[in-house]
């Protein structure tokens, strides 16, 4: 291939990548509650049955939004929320919240307006829950005590920790985020920037993303890509879903305006797009285009 053709090919590839990066656009922004007050230090958000749910940690409340990002309702069930960290919907439609101040999970039955407090123990040790995901009647908990992901099931009305996935590789510092997918669990280790994968048949892999990350805090896996949110660089990095992953491009940047990030905290894939929780700007945004 002549040098000119090679140059053109490189330009084409670069053009495609830039085009891909530019294709991402912000479609939704959720930054106020139903009464108009701004979010303060939101820590997490999720999508359930056509609605967004945001943990507005600083204001000690949970807020629901419709699919267009319009705030619907803000609640603090039983005024029990002091430091809510994460939420998800479990069996029977109950709302589950990680309440840091009690080191507990709150099971909230919105219909009967009752709250049940669950503390998790495994082999005599109390867990330190950070993030939760309900999937197919099983609860997955990011546990800071072990650094791993706990597999929990509901036995009657009580939670029972079946096992905790802690990677075999040493040294292991502990996970910062995880996602449960059809093929297994993907988890991001703090400080080392390694990504661990556990397939449902128990096979474990360790992936190290390409250099360039400084302080990654959250990951998402979708459409043959790994998305990593960097809190320090205020960017979302997109990697190939191959080991070792190669960085394709990054998007979003530091700033305080809509469409910019200041202290981002979490990434989550929803049917509406890639949801980004920005604690510093008190904002939850949804991005689409490149998926």
């Amino acid at each position: 291939m002549s040098r000119v053709s090679q140059g053109l090919l490189i330009l084409l590839i670069l053009g495609l990548l830039v085009g891909k990066a530019q294709a991402w656009k912000r479609v939704l922004s959720m930054d106020v509650g139903p009464e108009g007050s701004h979010l303060y230090h939101p820590m997490s958000a999720t999508w359930e049955k056509g609605r967004f749910y945001v943990v507005d940690t600083g204001n000690r409340r949970l807020i629901s939004y419709d699919a267009q990002g319009k705030p619907l309702k803000a609640v603090n069930p039983g005024k029990r929320l002091k430091s809510p960290l994460d939420l998800d919907f479990g069996p029977k439609g109950h709302l589950w919240v990680v309440e840091r101040s009690e080191n507990a999970l709150l099971e909230i039955d919105l219909a009967t307006k009752t709250i049940r407090v669950h503390r998790l123990y495994y082999r005599g040790k109390e867990l330190f829950p950070e993030r939760i995901v309900w999937r197919k009647d099983k609860l997955y908990v990011l546990d800071r005590e072990s650094g791993g992901v706990a597999f929990v099931r509901l036995k009657g009305k009580e939670l029972e920790v079946e096992r905790i996935w802690v990677p075999e590789e040493r040294p292991f510092i502990g996970f910062l985020d995880f996602k449960v997918k059809n093929d297994g669990i993907w988890a991001l280790e703090k400080t080392t920037h390694r990504i661990f994968y556990l397939s449902w048949d128990g096979r474990e892999e360790t992936w190290r993303p390409a250099e360039g990350l400084v302080y990654p805090v959250s990951l998402e896996v979708a459409g043959g890509r790994i998305y990593v949110l960097d809190r320090y660089l205020r960017k979302i990095f997109v990697f190939t879903l191959k080991n070792p992953p190669k960085m394709l491009f990054s998007f979003v940047g530091k700033g305080w305006r809509p469409g910019q990030l200041y202290l981002p905290r979490e990434l989550e894939l929803t049917p509406k797009g890639l949801l980004v929780v920005d604690e510093g700007n008190g904002r939850v945004e949804v991005w689409t285009g490149g998926l």
Binding site: D31, V32, H38, Y40, H41, M43, T57, G58, S83, L85, R100, S101, E102, N103, K125, F128, R144, E145, S146, G147, G148, F172, I173, G174, T191, V214, Y215, Y232, G255, W256, R257, P258, Y262, L263, E279, G280, N281, G282, R283
Partner: protein
Amino acid sequence: MRRGVFFLCFWLIWSVSVWAASSCFTQGCHTREAFRGRVEHGPVKGARCEKCHLPHVSRYSHLLRAEIPNLCFECHKDFKKKLKLASWVHLPVKRGACGRCHRPHAGPKGLLASEGARLCFNCHQGIKKASYRVLHAPFRKGQCLACHQAHFGETRSLVKGGTQVCFACHKKRKTVARHGDYADENMNCLTCHNPHGSNRPHLVRNFLHSPYEEEACDECHGGENTGADMCLACHDDKREEFLRVHTHYMRSGKRPFCVNCHSPHASDEKSLLRASPDWLCIRCHPEALVQKRESLHIHPAWEKCLDCHEGHGSRFAGMLKGDANAVCVRCHKTQGKFTHPIGEKVKDPRNGQTLTCVTCHDPMGTPFKYELRLSGEASLCLECHKGY
């Protein structure tokens, strides 16, 4: 014939260099004596001034042929290679400031700018000032390089050979045996001993954990509690501090995570920290150090991380000790009263968040005066005051 050509070339190179050198020294401008020393730099020794200098004009100071350190790397090629692979690089080396420590022409061993610890203390003044009742012999003699590497190393302190450095002088088996059953060859001596000096015998660090002081080893070793519970069993008041939105609660493994930051035996810090906060915190937050080094304006208390940040847990972003106004106003008292409006009632038009000191300032370091996030000339203000 080939031999003849070789000798001709050799003679030409030699004669040109001799001519060049002799012309530098013989015209009455540069005296040869000024370039003499116990050790002479190779090119100086060979009177090959042209290796580093141009005789007529140069775009670099001192008529150098190239910029420092690139000029140095032309000969010291191996050094450049090693530099790229190093985990931690001494700051002057990283900045390519070879001349901070080395003389270019002649000097003591290593062409150092001054001998012994005097050179190191030019920058490391804090260590020089420390007054200890008992001094480690190499420190007393100013032999910094007995334990430290000058250019790069595996750790930030550039200690030679990590935990094994002490055994270069202190016989391993004998030293370990003197510590009883709990010590082993891989333990880090610096956990308990200060390698420079201490007010205690055997260079044991000044503040002791009470079970260690009382020789109640069993309180921690061999007790029933594992993980963080080992520490929290006594320090129960700290448990609540970890139950906050932002927390340093970590995976424990075999040892409680608390000992990642605290020494269970002895420390130079009252709170038994393993090192001063600017060293300790940087192990996991190297980005703060990078930001500092890339900034022109840094908060004067940058090194005192725990003045503004919580060590265990906080409900504020960045693990601050309070909201970003409360933290600053503790010292900047007048700024809390008259300044650009800040506080609960003043909202940032860009994101609707409460306007605080850190809306405009970044104490961790910026390129702008007063650690402003953008230039105070206009661009920072225009972020919000569009009409101006």
